[in-house]
Every structure is written in C-alpha cells, then in structure tokens.
Assembly symmetry: C2
Homo-oligomer: 416 residues x 2
C-alpha cells in the first residue's frame, strides 16, 4: 500500500485553477470551429506500433511509450529486442491517427472532410521546464479540398478563436513552400541543397538576415547567389505588394498561379476577418516539417517569442499512408502554450464571477437544510453557481478560501 | 508504409455524428456540476505500475496495459517477468488516480474538495459488443465532507444533469451499507457470511425475492433466518415510510442516526429536485464494490435494464492510500451508456439545426469568393454555423449529403 504520490516522471496533475481555463479554451475551440462547419472526431490514444514507426513521425518516433503485449503473445524468454515485446504504443501526435482514421472511415465521411481533433499525445522526451510528457494537442484539418478555400477557412476560423481569447494583438505570418523554392532557384542554389538553405533561413528570427548570409557563406554557397538571395528578402513588402513583387521578380521560377493563390488568401482573410490581427506575407517563414507542399502559416502573439499555432498544406502525406492521393490543409493550435499565456496573465474565465456560497451552522436542523438546498436549486436555475458547505472551526480562514475560489457572496445560515 | 487501417484491437474511432453527442454531453456535465460548486481536475492517463497493482482495483488489475521501460532502464536480457520490463501502465479507472492526486495536492485544494474528473480509462478486457478497451469515465467526488450534504449534493447535481438529457423518466435507488448489515444481523446471518449473502441479494433484479430465498437455502443458511430476511424486504415501502419501518423494526441492529440520515437525504432530494424523477429507498440495492461504507445509490432509466450511473460513500479508501482518513462520497456517470442511449433514440443536439452551406461554382472569381466569405463571417457572428464548399460534378448527391449533415439552407453561388 505504498502509494506513489507524484505523477509519473514528466507528467502532471492539473489543478482546478488551470482546469477552469483549459475547459474554457476547449469549449471555445469546439464552438468556434463548429461555426465554420468543422466536426469533431476522435481516435484512440493507443496506436499500432507499426503505424507509429512508419517514418512519418521524424524524431518523435524515438519518443514512443511502448505497450507490452498481453497474455500468450508475450514471450519474455524469447524476446531479443523491444519490438518482440510490444504491439502498440501511445500516439506522439494526432496526424498519424488522422491518416489512419481517414483511410478507415473515408466512405462515411463528407468530402471535403473538415475535422477537429483534440486529444492527449505522449512523448518520452527529456523532462524540461513547462514541457510535459503528456499534453493536449488540437488539430484542425481539411481533407479533400485542393483549393485555397481550405487555407482561407482554417486561417479565418483559427484567428476568430484567438481573437475571442482577448489577446491584445496578434499576427498571422504566411508563406508558401513554392515561394521558398522559387526564391532559392532564382538565387542559383542547387536544388539538392534547398533543405539545407531553408534550415539556415529558418534561423532568421534569432540571427537576422546578416546572420543568415554569414551562415550560408560558411556552408560554402556562392557569394553571388547569397547576395541575390538576401537582396530579395530586403526588397519584399509584407502585404499584397510583396506577393506582387515576387510574382514579377521570380518570373520563370514561380508559377503565376501560385502567386495569385497567395494574393487571394491574403485578400480574403483581410476582408473577411472578424478579429483584430494582421496577415503578413513572410518569405522567411520555413516551418520545419518537410511534408508541406503549399501555403504555410503561423500565429504570433505580440510580446511572446515563438508561435502559438501553425500549419499548412500537405497534399502528399495522406496518399503515402492510404494509397489514395488526398489534398490536405491543417492548422495545429498550441493549446498548452495558449493556456500557459492565459495563466500568466491571470486570465479570468468570463461568467465565473457569479458564484455564491452558503455556510451552514454545524447544528443546522434538517428542515432548515432542505430549505437552503431548495433555494440553491432556484438560484442555479437562474444561472448562478452555488456551493453549500458546513462551517469549520476557523470560519475566517474558510471564508477567505472561498473568496479566493471566486465566491463573492457568502451567506451564513443558522437555525432561527 | 503498410498503414494498419483499423484501430488497435478493441478500441474505436469516433465518427462526427457520435462526437457531436459526446461533446454535447461533456459540455452539459461540466456546466451542471460547475453550478453545484464542483471543479474540474485531471490526472495523466499513465500511472505508476505500483499504484495500479496495489490491490484496490479488484479484477481490473488483471486488465492493465503495461508500458515498457525506456532507455537504459530496459534490460530485456535480464528480464524474468513482466514487472522487470515495465514501470507504468494505463489507468483502468479514475479512482486510483484521484487518491494519488488528492494525496499529492491536498494542501492546495479546498476542503471539502468537490471534484469532477472526466477522462479515458483503458482495460485489456475481452472484446465484446459495445464495450471497448478505451472508454470515457466521468467521476464526481466530494472529499472531506462527513455529512449527508455530500450525498444530497451529488444526487441533486447528477439528477439535474440526467434531467437535462431529456430522458422521459428515471429513478434514483438508494440504500445504505449499514442498512444491509443491520438487516442481515436482524435475520441472524453470521457476520462473516454477509458478503456471501449480499452477493446473492444482488441478483434480486434477475431472480426475484423467491430466487434469492432459494439460493440462500442452497447455500446452507438456516431456513428461519431466510424467512425473516425475506419478510423484511416484503414489508418495506419505497419511501420515507420504508426507512421509518426499518428504524423501528431493526432497533438494536441499526443506529437510529443512520436511519435519520437516510430520511434527510430522501426528504431533501425530494423537496429540492429540479428534474422529474423519484428517489426510491431500495433495501435490495447492494452495488458490488466492497469499499462502500455508507449510503449507496444508482440511477435507472425506464425501459433500460442496468444503471446509467451509481456511487456511494467510501470513507475508508483514501486513508488506505494516503495515510490520512478522509470521508468521501462519489458518483460515477455511465458516460458511454448515456451516449449509446442517446444515439439509439436519434437524439438531436439542441441548436445544431441552424446550419447553412454555400455551394460555390468552380469558376468563381476571387472577388465573389471574398464576398461570400465575408457574408459567412457575419452570419457566424449572428450565431449560425456556416460551411463553404465548392460544387462537385454530382451536385445532387453533394446536396443530399450536406442535408444529411444538417445543413438545411444551401445557397448556390455563381459569378453574376
């Protein structure tokens, strides 16, 4: 009976104060995406080990919690390596399960399928401050829509959500993998070095344009190309004019359609947005994952480094899994990061103020108790949260505690 | 790249139609318990293997999904048995994690602590129709309140919830472990045979009072005692009169306080209830788990055999885990069962009717697209769910599909 009190290494208990904010954000996410025609779906936390180790998960595949085979299938004596012992594992993201879900259920799903998936994912990562081995992920995906309506949809829905969370100002940065490639081609970088170039470019935020130039030079790229490359970034504006500049300048390297596509997205979002934010064309935006094939985007909040959500088009991934090519656009909300930011700024969940507590005398008659319970029922019907508790010896401390939980009205009840 | 399409054995993908109902029920649960002063909390899905195998989980401990140790800790060659390979497992219920949570965080929690915990639990059970190896559990617990206010609270809150779900009529059956014991003592059964007697009594629903008598006789109990026992059940009414009858009849076997306690609960719930249900004193109610120490209760819905939720007082369990005696009352909602019943009766989530879809001509100009997207934004602000999709070749089929998803208004958009 020696109970271990702490959670398993790297995981955490979530206390009421944080849960209130989490529940509020979850409710807001579901409500907002529903308004945009998204439907919720869910996959199990446990996934086939084969699916988790199919090379689509990158480094995350090193971080799998593996689950032991059960019963007769488990042969400890014969086992030589991990895979002899396991048949499944905890998912490290929601994308692999989404692909499996889609391939299993496509016949019963509308097309395009606009999915909202929220769920816990698990990574046996090195424990770090503020990063846990179980955390909530929240993915929005549109499967089966090859048009820019998908990008417009996920960007408008997600910005509407962030707007509702009272962040003072935020921005959506947008780019397109095909712009990135065209700019590299225009500058004369060899195609096989693109990934290397983009990894260096991705450090812009930290080392600046000059730092990027220096690192490219250090990697042995031709000076002339680097200068051409850097000059491009210097010249490009952050709105529709930037896109126009690219369309003209990169002629022969960039399909005009791709530029027009970007213009329509920026224009539609700017015209139709309901939240207060800017959409910024940012040709330095890379986003790490190599599976993106078209537009890519990120949400940044002023005063906070790093993004609180991002995504893009990945038209080739589902087909690799399912055998059926399926255009796809996704946006992943940084749920844990948003909750952390709200906690830090002492965010109050709207409507949580209307809380009342009854403090009962220990010797209250059962008639009087019935009376209070009845009255509380009526107040709840009228929309209040009502708590009923017995008085403790240290009434002063008890009242302070109730106040700290948000009970502004506290009524003491005695026998008459 | 051979993706396994089906979920892991015994687990399931949840499609949008079911998820809509699940999300609705989850929202209602959170809202209702919040009104009663409960706060949400969460524990990780992964728990120390020591805690999961501490003999508090009964048969569920045979059904644990065990998680392999990672890195240097995993020594396959030296392993002799399962426990050499694992350090944690997936939780099979929410009670063990609640006890650990409470012992870890009691200093930061109010007293009494009124907790709502919803989360997935995992059992490597034999796959059966309608039962899955991952399912949602939903537990309400009041820790630290020794009074019947705890029972009144959980019963009123839970009945309010069930009432909101439009079940035509339902009942709450209530009993008390101490009544069960007093009745057995009064009838002359020896104390060490109580558990055996209760197991037989628990079959009442299926075999009737006569069946219970026959089985008791078959087990070798004295005929006189059995007759006395059966006569008791025959004579007891289902309301306050039944409690009064027991108080008088069982004098010397039942503390009068225990009967008064039961009367106050029944009276308070009857007076203060906001939903349409009956609370029935049922001296044949046993509930399996041996850890109950006081009142026990179940919710039954007319026309459905089995309960959709149940619980009781378990004042001795937390102390066994934590070393600090803590009174506790809990109610577990049969979440999966409720969702199943709602699905079966074709339940429509309220407010889901207000859905509109725009069907766009494939050749729509980007100006016109911006116009539609803008209009949709305004309609969403006014509370509608609005979906925008491009027309497909088979427009008729596409419209039917949208209608089946609840889009009652479908507007086709072409260039003027």
């Amino acid at each position: 009976m020696q109970l271990k009190k702490k959670p398993v290494t790297g995981m955490k208990d979530i206390l009421p104060r944080e849960m209130e904010i989490r529940d509020y954000v979850i409710g807001l996410i579901k409500e907002t995406y529903k308004e945009f025609g998204f439907t919720s779906m869910e996959t199990p936390c446990v996934e086939h080990i084969e699916n988790l180790t199919s090379k689509q998960g990158g480094d995350n595949e090193k971080l799998i919690f593996r689950i032991l085979k059960r019963g007769e299938k488990l042969k400890i004596n014969e086992a030589k390596e991990e895979n002899d012992l396991v048949d499944s594992g905890l998912r490290y993201d929601l994308t692999v399960p989404l692909c499996r879900f889609y391939s299993n259920n496509a016949n019963e799903l509308p097309s395009p399928f606009k999915a909202l998936q929220m769920g816990n994912v698990f990574r046996a990562d090195r424990p770090q401050r503020g990063r846990f081995r179980q955390f909530m992920q929240c993915d929005i995906d549109i499967l089966g829509d090859p048009t820019n309506l998908a990008e417009i949809d996920v960007i408008l829905a997600t910005s509407t959500l962030v707007g509702k969370l009272d962040f003072e100002s935020f921005a959506i940065r947008i780019n397109d993998r095909r712009f990135l490639k065209a700019m590299a081609a225009y500058s004369g970088f060899p195609e096989e070095s693109y990934d290397q170039v983009f990894i260096i470019l991705d450090k812009m935020d930290k080392i600046g344009l000059e730092g990027v130039a220096a690192e490219l030079e250090g990697s042995g790229f031709a000076k002339e190309g680097i200068e051409k490359y850097i000059a491009l970034f210097d010249a490009i504006g952050e709105g529709l004019d930037g896109v126009k500049y690219c369309k003209d300048k990169l002629e022969g390297f960039l399909e005009p359609d791709v530029a027009d596509n970007m213009s329509t997205i920026i224009e539609s979002v700017t015209e139709a947005k309901t939240a207060n934010f800017r959409i910024i064309f940012d040709p330095t935006l890379v986003r790490g994952m190599s599976y993106y094939t078209g537009p890519i985007f990120e949400i940044c909040i002023d005063g906070f480094s790093g993004s609180v959500g991002g995504g893009g088009r990945y038209d080739e991934m589902i087909g690799k899994f399912t055998g059926t090519p399926t255009p796809a656009t996704g946006f992943s909300i940084g749920f844990e990061r948003i909750v952390m930011l709200l906690m830090e700024r002492g965010f109050q969940v709207p409507g949580s103020a209307d809380k009342k507590a009854y403090l009962l005398d220990k010797k209250l008659s059962s008639e009087k108790l019935v009376e209070v319970v009845k009255k509380a029922g009526e107040e709840r019907k009228a929309g209040k949260s009502v708590n009923i508790v017995y008085m403790k010896k240290n009434k002063k401390f008890q009242k302070e505690q109730l106040q700290s939980e948000g009970y502004e009205i506290i009524e003491e009840i005695y026998n008459d």
